[in-house]
């Protein structure tokens, strides 16, 4: 189980082996997010393990 945070909202996600699988599970476009795992910016091939803290930074903002 990993913790995923986006714009201050947290949720638990299970059954994802890497960031790419997380994007697929959450139906997100990887082009629209930057990801950090345990406060380090990572790419889609980053492996995920139990208790990892994932933060999603939406790249779309402003008007």
């Amino acid at each position: 189980m990993i913790e995923v945070e986006e714009r201050g909202k947290k949720r638990k996600v299970s059954g994802v082996k890497d960031v790419s699988a997380l994007f697929e599970k959450l139906k997100l476009n990887p082009d629209e997010y930057v990801v950090s795992v345990n406060n380090k910016i990572v790419l889609e091939d980053e492996k995920l393990k139990n208790n990892d803290k994932v933060k999603l930074y939406p790249v779309v903002s402003g008007g």
Partner: protein
């Protein structure tokens, strides 16, 4: 994935350029590209006073920071549209960075300059909020840059903004508007108009987020509440879908547009004779300017 420069662990992958970079190599690459864009389009030099439009979002925060790092002479301009729960959240980030970099900040508000906040305008709206906001914001940025004696007004438009704008102008057959856009805006020179430049136009939104995070720059990532129903939001979704499947379409679109621009400038927008608005004295192609027309509309 490894950095193409030094082999360390990469923090960003740029499929369109077939490159991946680590923390240190990416920030250097980013700054080099901004400098290259400024030089390529002969935007400005270190003797010029540059007004930087800073909203507090990642793009404009990055822009101000990187121009400062590159040694340009800056003054920050913030437009407060009066959008409750949005702009009041972003302005503190601008104030903080200006203080840190010792850059003077000037805030111009819709309420003070035009008599109405965007929230008040929208209550009486006949058009999408973005139509009013775009016109009012451009007007005030230009006014502020002129009043502050700026030679150029730099805005944080990124590759995504540019790609979206090109397609939207095509969709609306706005060839005159396209002729006035590009890296340095404007066709006809006029002393009431401060040329706008876009040093980040070849850098994607995603690269801007990564740069801000790596540099520890604080910004607000709240999405404007009015953007959701706009054509831009739909175009953005579509382009991002295509870019994810076919990397390189955004930069390809921009480069194609740049090649077409001399033709557009030669054939469109030139006949436009600029006059002074009868109501406010700002430049316009008609009898009255769009700002005055829109203000009348929502009176």
């Amino acid at each position: 994935m490894k950095c193409v420069k030094c082999g360390k662990k990469a923090v960003i992958n740029l499929p369109y350029a077939s490159k991946a970079y680590c923390h240190s190599c990416f920030t250097k690459y980013y700054e080099k590209r901004v400098k290259k864009t400024i030089m390529k389009h002969k935007m400005f030099n270190k003797k010029d006073l540059i007004g930087v439009g800073v909203s507090g979002g990642k793009d404009s925060i990055d822009l101000m920071y990187v121009l400062h790092r590159l040694g340009y002479n800056l003054v920050a301009i913030t437009i407060d549209e009066g959008i409750k729960g949005y702009r009041n959240e972003t302005i503190p980030f601008v104030k903080k960075l200006c203080k840190q970099l010792k850059i003077p900040l000037h805030i111009y508000s819709f309420k003070k300059e035009l008599g109405k906040t965007l929230d008040e305008v929208v209550k009486k709206k006949k058009r999408h909020a973005c139509s009013y906001c775009g016109v009012f914001r451009r007007h005030l940025l230009n006014k502020a840059a002129r009043e502050l004696g700026c030679d150029y007004l730099a805005v944080g438009h990124n590759l995504d903004d540019e790609a979206q704008t090109i397609l939207m102008n095509f969709f609306h057959s706005e060839l005159d508007r396209m002729a006035r856009s590009g890296a340095v805006t404007g066709v006809v020179k006029n002393n009431l108009f401060v040329p706008r430049v876009k040093p980040l136009r070849e850098i994607s939104e995603k690269e801007n987020v990564v740069y801000a995070l790596l540099k520890g720059l604080e910004y607000d990532d709240i999405e404007c509440p009015y953007v959701k129903d706009s054509l831009r939001a739909d175009v953005r979704k579509t382009i991002n879908f295509l870019e994810n499947k076919h990397p390189g379409i955004k930069i390809g679109l921009l480069h194609s547009f740049d090649k077409m621009l001399p033709f557009l400038k030669e054939n469109f927008g030139k006949e436009q004779k600029l006059k002074k608005c009868k109501s406010c004295g700002e430049i316009t192609s008609g009898e009255t300017c769009k700002v005055c027309d829109f203000l009348k509309e929502v009176k």
